[in-house]
C-alpha cells in the first residue's frame, strides 16, 4: 500500500492579534486515506477553514508536519505548492468564486492554463467536465446567467478538470437551498464512488451524513472522529 493521501502531525496555526496569540488550529494529527469521504463539522471559529486552507497548501502551518501524497510540504517552494494545488487538489468554495463576465467554459479551463495545456485541449477537457455536470447546454453562460446550483456545479467541474486526487470543499452548500444542497452532495457521492477523495466542511448534520467519516473540531482540536453510522445515499443527480 502506498502512503496515505494526507497525513498531519501536530499541525498548528497561530494568529497574533493585538499581541495575543490565538491558536486557530492547535495540534491536529490526522490521516486520510485515498478514496475517503470526510465531513468536517464544528462550531463557528473552531478552526475548520484554517485547517482546510493548510491541507490545501493555500496557507503555511505555524508548526507541525503535513504530508501530501507522501511529500512533506515543508520542503516545497511556492512554485511546487502551486503545482500541487493545480494537479492534486480541487477547491470548491462557499461563494463559488467564478470569474465574473467569463463563460462557464473559460472558467472551467482556467486550471488547465496553469497546467500548460494548449487551447484546443483546454476547451475539450473543460467541455467534457461541464457535460458530466449536466451543463452541456450552458457552456457559454457567464456566472450572472446561471443559478446558484449551476454556478456551484461549474465550480465543481473546474475543481475536477485537472483530475486531482482530492476535492476540498469549505461549506459548498452554505449558499444553496436544501434541495440544491442535496443535489450537490449527490454529485459528491458519485465522484467518491468513482474514486476521488473528498473533504467537506459543513454546519448541517444531515449534510454530514452523506459522508462516510465525520470529524468534529472544537477550539482548534479534533474532539470527535468516527464513521458515519446511518449513511445517507442521494439519488445521484
Amino acid at each position: 500500500m502506498t502512503a496515505p493521501l494526507l497525513e498531519t502531525h501536530d499541525l498548528v496555526k497561530d494568529y497574533v492579534i493585538g499581541g495575543e496569540v490565538l491558536h486557530a488550529v492547535n495540534g491536529v494529527s490526522l490521516t486520510i486515506k485515498r478514496g475517503e469521504f470526510v465531513a468536517i463539522m464544528g462550531a463557528s471559529g473552531s478552526g475548520k477553514s484554517t485547517f482546510m486552507n493548510m491541507i490545501g497548501c493555500l496557507d503555511i502551518p505555524t508548526s507541525g508536519t503535513l504530508l501530501l501524497d507522501g511529500i512533506d510540504t515543508k520542503t516545497l517552494d511556492s512554485d511546487a505548492l502551486a503545482e500541487i494545488r493545480n494537479r492534486k487538489i480541487g477547491f470548491v468554495f462557499q461563494q463559488f468564486n467564478l470569474l465574473a463576465r467569463t463563460s462557464a467554459l473559460d472558467n472551467v479551463a482556467v486550471p488547465l492554463i496553469y497546467a500548460g495545456l494548449g487551447y484546443t485541449e483546454r476547451r475539450e477537457r473543460a467541455q467534457a467536465k461541464l457535460e458530466a455536470m449536466g451543463l452541456g447546454n450552458r457552456l457559454q453562460n457567464t456566472p450572472a446567467k446561471l443559478s446558484g446550483g449551476q454556478q456551484q456545479r461549474v465550480a465543481i467541474a473546474r475543481a475536477l478538470v485537472t483530475d486531482p486526487l482530492m476535492l476540498l470543499a469549505d461549506e459548498p452548500t452554505g449558499a444553496l437551498d436544501t434541495q440544491t444542497s442535496l443535489d450537490i452532495m449527490g454529485i459528491f457521492q458519485k465522484l467518491n464512488d468513482e474514486g476521488i477523495t473528498l473533504i467537506v466542511v459543513t454546519h448541517e448534520p444531515d449534510i454530514a451524513e452523506y459522508a462516510e467519516r465525520r470529524i468534529v473540531f472544537r477550539d482548534g482540536r479534533i474532539i470527535e472522529d468516527a464513521a458515519v453510522k446511518s449513511r445517507r445515499r442521494a439519488v445521484a443527480g
Binding site: 486552507n53 502551486a82 494545488r85 463576465r101 486550471p111 496553469y114 487551447y119 473546474r158
Partner: protein, 416 residues
C-alpha cells in the same frame, strides 16, 4: 523546442487574459492608454521636428556652397554664424590679394548687401539685394533658371540689370515671365535679366527672397549705408578647390589679413574667417540641442503617462486581489500572476504607443504641408516608440505586477 512552444503559448494565454481584463474595464483602459498615447505622440513629433531641423540645416548649408570660406570684417564672435554688426573694413582689393596669394583658392566673390525696395506698376516688394560679381554664381552655387546670370560686362559697365529670386518674382510679376521686364529698385529702373534657380526655404528662411545686381551698380546707385572707401565690401565668399586647401587656406587668409591691416600681436583680429564646414558643425550642434530639449520635454509627458499606467495597475491589482487568490488556488505560480499583470500593462502601452505613433505620423504630414517644414518620421523612430512604450509598460507595470505575485494565496482569496 516544445518547451519554447509552451512558453509562447503561455504568453498567448497571458495576452488573452489581459485583453479580457482590459475589455471588462474598457473606459478605464482607454483613459490609461490616452496618457501613453499622448506621451508617445509628443516624443515622436519632437524627434520628427528635430530631424526636420537637422535636414533643413544641412540643406541650408548646401545652398551656401561647399568648400567655401566666408570673410567678414568683424571680430570672431566665438560660435554661431558671423554677425554683421560692428563692421570694420574689407575691400575688393583684399579679395584679389586672397585669390593671388592663398593657395587652392578657385574664386573670390566680393559682395555688398543692402536692403532695397522694388516697384513694378501696382506692386512692390522689399528684399535684400546682393551686389556681386559673376564669381558669386560659381562660389555659392547660384545660377539663373530663366534668362542669364551676371557677366563681367554687367559689372564693368555698372549696368542696371538684376537677377531676381522666385519669391520676388511672384510678388512683382505674379505668373508672368519677369525676364526682360523693368523694375524700379529704390526708384532706379533696372532690367530683369534672369530668374534665380529656386533653393526653397529652410527654417523659415526663404532663400528665394533676394535679388542680385552687379556690385558696381549697387555701389553707385543703391547703397544706403555709406562705406568708408570706394572699394569696400560687406563680405567675401572664398571658394576653394578642395577640403584640404580650405582648411589650410582659412588659416592663411587670417594671417594675411592681420598683416595687411597691421593688427598688432596679441590684439584680436577684426576679421572672421568661417568655413561652411564650421558653420555646418555649429548649426548642427545648435539643432541637436534644440532637438534634445524638445525630446526631453516630450519625455516628461511619456513619464506622466507611465505613472498613469502604474496607478491604474495598482488599482487593478487591489481590485482583483480576490481573483489573484483564486488563480493561485487553481495553480497559478507567482510568475504567472506577475506575467499576467506585466502583459496587461504592456498591452495598454503598446496599444497607446501604436495610436500615438499613427497620430504623430499624421500630424507630421500635416505640419509638413502647413508649415513647409520637413518632419520625417523614420522607421527607427517608429520602432523606437513601440519599444519605448513596451518598456514603459514593463517598468511602470512591473512594480504592481510583482506586488500582486507576492500576495499569499489565502490572504488574497480572503480579501474583499
Amino acid at each position: 523546442m516544445s518547451k519554447l512552444l509552451n512558453s509562447i503559448a503561455g504568453w498567448g494565454v497571458n495576452i488573452a487574459i489581459a485583453m479580457t481584463a482590459l475589455r471588462t474595464n474598457l473606459m478605464r483602459s482607454i483613459l490609461t492608454t490616452l496618457g501613453v498615447m499622448i506621451g508617445v505622440f509628443s516624443v515622436i513629433l519632437a524627434v520628427a521636428v528635430g530631424n526636420g531641423a537637422q535636414v533643413s540645416v544641412t540643406q541650408q548649408i548646401a545652398t551656401l556652397g561647399s568648400n567655401m570660406a566666408i570673410v567678414v570684417p568683424q571680430p570672431d564672435s566665438g560660435s554661431g554664424p558671423p554677425r554683421s554688426t560692428d563692421r570694420g573694413r574689407l575691400t575688393e582689393r583684399d579679395g584679389r590679394a586672397i585669390l593671388r596669394q592663398v593657395s587652392g583658392v578657385s574664386a573670390v566673390a566680393p559682395q555688398i548687401r543692402s536692403s532695397v525696395q522694388l516697384v513694378t506698376p501696382g506692386r512692390s516688394a522689399t528684399t535684400q539685394a546682393t551686389g556681386a560679381t559673376p564669381e558669386y554664381g560659381i562660389v555659392s552655387n547660384v545660377a539663373a533658371s530663366e534668362g542669364r546670370f551676371l557677366t563681367d560686362g554687367d559689372v564693368g559697365a555698372a549696368a542696371r540689370v538684376v537677377v531676381i529670386g522666385q519669391t520676388v518674382a511672384d510678388k512683382l510679376f505674379a505668373d508672368a515671365n519677369p525676364v526682360g521686364e523693368t523694375v524700379r529698385i529704390n526708384r532706379v529702373p533696372f532690367k530683369v535679366i534672369g530668374l534665380l534657380e529656386s533653393k526653397g526655404s529652410n527654417l523659415g528662411n526663404d532663400n528665394d527672397d533676394q535679388i542680385v545686381v552687379p556690385i558696381t551698380t549697387l555701389r553707385q546707385r543703391l547703397q544706403t549705408t555709406a562705406m568708408q572707401g570706394p572699394d569696400d565690401v560687406t563680405l567675401l565668399f572664398v571658394g576653394f578647390e578642395d577640403e584640404d586647401s580650405l582648411l589650410t587656406g582659412q588659416r592663411e587668409i587670417k594671417r594675411m589679413l592681420r598683416d595687411r591691416y597691421r593688427v598688432p600681436k596679441g590684439r584680436i583680429s577684426p576679421f572672421t574667417v568661417r568655413t561652411t564646414t564650421e558653420i555646418a558643425e555649429t548649426t548642427g550642434q545648435v539643432t541637436q540641442i534644440f532637438q534634445a530639449v524638445l525630446v526631453a520635454i516630450a519625455s516628461i509627458s511619456l513619464l506622466v503617462g507611465g505613472i498613469g499606467i502604474m496607478n491604474i495597475m495598482l488599482v487593478s491589482v487591489t481590485e482583483r486581489t480576490r481573483e489573484i487568490g483564486l488563480r493561485m488556488a487553481l495553480g497559478a505560480k507567482r510568475s504567472d500572476i506577475r506575467n499576467q499583470f506585466l502583459v496587461e500593462a504592456a498591452v495598454l502601452c503598446v496599444i497607446g504607443g501604436a495610436i500615438g505613433l499613427t497620430l504623430a505620423i499624421l500630424a507630421a504630414a500635416i505640419f509638413q504641408q502647413v508649415a513647409d517644414f520637413p518632419a520625417p518620421v523614420g522607421l527607427d523612430t517608429a520602432l523606437m516608440s513601440v519599444a519605448f512604450s513596451a518598456i514603459i509598460g514593463i517598468v511602470f507595470g512591473g512594480y504592481p505586477a510583482i506586488r500582486a505575485s507576492r500576495l499569499s494565496p489565502i490572504e488574497a482569496l480572503r480579501s474583499e
